[in-house]
Symmetry: C5
Subunit: 357 residues, 5 copies
Amino acid sequence: MSQARERDLGHRRSALHAPGTTVFVGARRLSEATINIIDYDAHTLREIQGADVSACLERIGMDTVTWINVNGVHDTALIEALGDGLGLHPITQEAIANTVQRPNWEEFPSYAFAAMKMLDDGGAERGVKIEHVSLILGPTWVLSFLEDEGDVFDSVRHRLRTGTGRVRSMNADYLAFCLMDAVVDHYFLAVERIGENVEIYDERVLMNPRPEDIHEIHRFKRQLLSLRRAAWPLREVVNAIARSESELLDSKTKVFWRDLYDHTVQVIDMVETSRETLASMHDTYLSSLSNRMNEVMKVLTVISTIFIPLTFIVGVYGMNFQYMPELHWKNSYYVLWIAMSVIGIGLITYFRRRRWI
Amino acid sequence: MSQARERDLGHRRSALHAPGTTVFVGARRLSEATINIIDYDAHTLREIQGADVSACLERIGMDTVTWINVNGVHDTALIEALGDGLGLHPITQEAIANTVQRPNWEEFPSYAFAAMKMLDDGGAERGVKIEHVSLILGPTWVLSFLEDEGDVFDSVRHRLRTGTGRVRSMNADYLAFCLMDAVVDHYFLAVERIGENVEIYDERVLMNPRPEDIHEIHRFKRQLLSLRRAAWPLREVVNAIARSESELLDSKTKVFWRDLYDHTVQVIDMVETSRETLASMHDTYLSSLSNRMNEVMKVLTVISTIFIPLTFIVGVYGMNFQYMPELHWKNSYYVLWIAMSVIGIGLITYFRRRRWI
Amino acid sequence: MSQARERDLGHRRSALHAPGTTVFVGARRLSEATINIIDYDAHTLREIQGADVSACLERIGMDTVTWINVNGVHDTALIEALGDGLGLHPITQEAIANTVQRPNWEEFPSYAFAAMKMLDDGGAERGVKIEHVSLILGPTWVLSFLEDEGDVFDSVRHRLRTGTGRVRSMNADYLAFCLMDAVVDHYFLAVERIGENVEIYDERVLMNPRPEDIHEIHRFKRQLLSLRRAAWPLREVVNAIARSESELLDSKTKVFWRDLYDHTVQVIDMVETSRETLASMHDTYLSSLSNRMNEVMKVLTVISTIFIPLTFIVGVYGMNFQYMPELHWKNSYYVLWIAMSVIGIGLITYFRRRRWI
Amino acid sequence: MSQARERDLGHRRSALHAPGTTVFVGARRLSEATINIIDYDAHTLREIQGADVSACLERIGMDTVTWINVNGVHDTALIEALGDGLGLHPITQEAIANTVQRPNWEEFPSYAFAAMKMLDDGGAERGVKIEHVSLILGPTWVLSFLEDEGDVFDSVRHRLRTGTGRVRSMNADYLAFCLMDAVVDHYFLAVERIGENVEIYDERVLMNPRPEDIHEIHRFKRQLLSLRRAAWPLREVVNAIARSESELLDSKTKVFWRDLYDHTVQVIDMVETSRETLASMHDTYLSSLSNRMNEVMKVLTVISTIFIPLTFIVGVYGMNFQYMPELHWKNSYYVLWIAMSVIGIGLITYFRRRRWI
Amino acid sequence: MSQARERDLGHRRSALHAPGTTVFVGARRLSEATINIIDYDAHTLREIQGADVSACLERIGMDTVTWINVNGVHDTALIEALGDGLGLHPITQEAIANTVQRPNWEEFPSYAFAAMKMLDDGGAERGVKIEHVSLILGPTWVLSFLEDEGDVFDSVRHRLRTGTGRVRSMNADYLAFCLMDAVVDHYFLAVERIGENVEIYDERVLMNPRPEDIHEIHRFKRQLLSLRRAAWPLREVVNAIARSESELLDSKTKVFWRDLYDHTVQVIDMVETSRETLASMHDTYLSSLSNRMNEVMKVLTVISTIFIPLTFIVGVYGMNFQYMPELHWKNSYYVLWIAMSVIGIGLITYFRRRRWI
């Protein structure tokens, strides 16, 4: 929640600037932005850690595929230098620095731009961290921006280095696909963990509902809401790419994008299923809690109901009238006990028969 | 639920691999994958149980229609050997081995691929088993993958062997239709059984609602949710086939696909009707339970309300004031009894008249 | 409900057959299927009751418009004979015999097929009977199948016999329109009766809600659910016909089909309005019931609350302490009565002022 | 409600007639149908009150724009005479006489037909009267049918007579636009009045919810439901006109139709906003009522809870045991009063601290 | 709310006029309408405060881009003078003066018209003020109408004056974009503030729900409803512009409009997220409140239930029977205390073990 609020402040700051001005919007997560380059073709691969802008532009000119990954988007000077060098439209540069940007896909004559949210699942105790990712696909290069250092793209790096899969022999668009594929795979991890937790919770709550569970249900609902908010526009982005006629996208990779689209649909399916499970669980939880409460109240009320007439009876014989013949009979005390027992047992039997207790 | 969780783990394992890598995702259900071939034309039919890949590829080359059915998808080497022999795209091979794949339809230049969920209804005690099925339709062959051994396709086998219906005189696409038709027929069985159970339950619950019924309603809701999750994308798959322009699909079979599409729509109709019935039943159940509870509480409270004023009265004459003239009157005890009877009967009459009891 | 269950069994039986096999699915309602032919042009009209298949085929060849009506669809041999004679596709023959078929419209080269549900409103005590109807429209003939004998088409027969309206001077497609128009008119009757009942019920329930009303509301909901399930696909069918490019449909009748489409939309409007009224009524009913209950509980609790402090007070003076000065005062008994009256009236006044009673 | 029921009966009567037969459906509101003609061009205007059919047909032939307004649609002979004279299709004639007709737009070769509902807001005590209106637009004439005499079109008449606005210099289609514009303006009046009432009610209910308010909320819901039922199809009608390619509609009036379309959208917006406000109000009302009830019950229960232990204590010292030392102590009565005060105040303090009272 | 009512009255007044008549509809917010002109190209900029209509028309004819901003739309004579001078269609002039106009976009041959709502967020105490804005885009000029004086366009003025950004070197359509961009930025501010308030409220309510919170939730719901009502049609407007083929819109600015469209989608996303959060909060709030209430009732009832049997027992020994042996036993008083303690502790233990307290 505090993250959301900080983003809002971020946007507020940007509202005062001209459109197309590169202004960082968001919360700074790194002290310094770093650039890493991986430059490869089927035969060679060269990695540069901590490169500068000129190194990037130099590698672009070559025949190889160049992947420039930037961690940290608060350095607007860096974004502008890179952007101008690569011919990025000012509005793209603004979008890169704006971490509250909604996921979208925009094609420009010489490149295409994709913005999306990345889910980094930190397990039960850390929760899901949402990070903004920008990808720019050029003819022979891919430019990626992350808010923070992370290991989401490590599997792609590993495949590039070892030459596993077909990534080394394909063009830049396939690299872009691999990066988005890695992002979507992390959606699965996050959605699955929440889905599992909902399942476990579901079983626990149905067995033993407690008043404080309502807060946990509310928390789950909000988590799923934020996942959903990230996943739906991502689906649109991947769909737009799969249907794109851009020359930057090779017809050979189309089938991969369509496959990725199916994955995003599946992510949404899982989110919606969890939401529906949660909704049904919520209803069931409320009913169970209310049933338990009712049971308690019913039993307590039954106890009162049995004793109230009996208390009346003993009250009668506590009266101080001078002329009450029963008071002087020898066995009236015992008779009264018998009568009260009969009344008590009779009431209990009656309540049982009507299934009230 | 445990099945769902195990699948999630499955996906997690696959997230580390390159796209287009054939990795088994799911829970292994068979110790060994087996291949069965049925090779036929209008005049001849040959069956091979426990064939190997080379036998499959050999039969493909001929003029006949070849149906290769593989039970078990954990044997990725087998899938790759078959896939490479038949010219399947790596992404298709990956999809075959991925049992958490969402139902979809993808056309390739030389074949078409369909993934779907199969519902195998095991009756009241076993519940509905969901299995993943892949169908690949080539020009003269159909390749089908099941997770487990099962009898879903037995009716098709029977018709092939006996030459019933028109399947023997039609092309491979009609065989693919027959297989999907068999799958959809099993949806009907599953949906009908749940629908019947909901009906029976509905009548029982309205007559005699019990607190524990809420769990059963929740269970029904979740079952229908998973049926729905399987049925909706299947409808899209069949619709895509019915509208497909692929040359693999003969124009003569179009009418059958459209008919099958109507069947999937009907399955969804039945699921949605059961869901709405269940939702209305849920509301009615809650109201009934609450009404019963209220009735109980009301009667008990009425009893208390009658005796509380009476107890007050007898308390009055239990006081020990020295000067209480009534205490010394001769008939005051009897008069009091009459007065109390009048009050009690009066209250009961009043409550009855206002329809409180 | 029993009807629904029996249909399910019906479908189960058909799941074992090859697609395109004519198998009766449903509950047999007639002992024997009967064929009636009306053969007419602008000048002549000939009726044959209890015709056989050859009589049908003979009339088809002529210049006149031939309406063949078959009551009873369990006689699959009859359907096959007629179907083969008129050149109906096997899948059409299967659809005719399948009374659980979803309403749809399918065009074939030489004919068009429409399936729909007919509502036969039997008044308050019999309820609405849902029957399956198939219509096949050929160039000069219309073939209609009903599950049962009924009077739905009687108004059309009457118009044909008397030459009322323009039906005698139009082609077969206008006859098909008249038949579907008669079906839709019966939807109005059924929907209106339920709508009226909901209205009457609405007024009654708001005046005097009773716990058992919830079952009636549930029953209304289910009736509307089944009407809706029949009406929505019918709308699609009529829409498909109104937009059809088929040569079987004369451009002159287009305006009638569009008008019929408007009628089906209106039926759905009425169903949805009844559903919304019912939903609002349900909410209001629950609130009213809960309000009544609360009122009762409140009054009862108020009575208890007034007497409980008074009972405490009389209990005080029922104590047997040796030294309680009040006990020996002369007027303390009367003073106490006054005090208790003041307390009682004070509480009542307080409760009234706070609007608790 | 009685109006709705009477309409249903109306439809029932029409179900027995052939399609395209002019039968009055609805409730007769006028004793006699009257025709008024306004015939004008930029320079001249002639009005005929109480014209007959031949006068109508005579005026049509001229160069001027002719507006024929008919109040009362029960006179089917009149409709047929006018309809045949103007070349109206039988189905149009049927639609004019059918006051339960759903709003729609239908283009014919020589004219276009629009049916819609008119809302005549009679203020708080009379409520909204829904009336059926038919408009037929010919090349140089407009024919309008109202169920009743009314003042909805008076503003148009006024503009025609005084030559205000551009209506006198435009064609018949602009006149049709003016008439529909007047109808939509009356929607605003009706929707605004209900919207205002909902607003006022909202404030009142939140301040002081009463059990009987639920009936008022239900009444509002039903009113909005019927407005909505009239407004949605009207939007479709205006949209169809705005998109129509008919030659009857001048390209110069297109912008007016699009503007009118925006108005209908705004009407629907207002209806939906009122519905949502009402839904939120309903929830809030229920919560408020339940909160008030709970507060009452809580206070009453707290009073009982305080006195019940005290009553137990005085009961103890009302026992008649021979050996109860406290009874004989000098100050035990006063001590007991102190103890009971402490207990009472302690309980009240405890309840207050836990915020129970 | 009073604002809404006053607008309704406004519309009512306009319903009596001919379409295309310029009539002010709304609440007058300024005593006098003022015109400000900014006239610029890349090199020069000239500002005229308090211009008159002829000054406006004079500037239009030049080569520069002219922005005419009018504060106050009640001066219909001014609107007509400007409108006629600039060739605006009467319906546009009517729309400018109609502040209850729904947001829309309409293209005319020589200009394009956009109406929208502006949100001016006045902070927590003033709330969100909704103002109507009209923009007219001509070939070299932009005409903007505000209801009131405000600072929404100040950032654009600042950029124009200082030559920041690209606005000075672009055409009039880019200026129009800048103005709408400023409007959308103010949506963000308003939506974010409400979103933040909902967040803060959410945390507070879950910790400590109070009965009066329901009114605050209702207020939030209504605020979001009105934001939503403004934002959805704005999205349509921006979308229509982004897809427009009008020659007034340069292809170079397309990318900015698409970007603005993404912003409006994001505004709606934020509104919908707040709405869903609020809905979930409402549910949770109700459950929490009901849980608290139940806890209170349960504890109170438990106390009663413990003392009622004990009070019965002491009542027994308060009876005045002559023959009650226990009364005369030496230790029976002490034994009774022990027995009652056992009963009391036993009941408490039992209730605790069943988790009732």
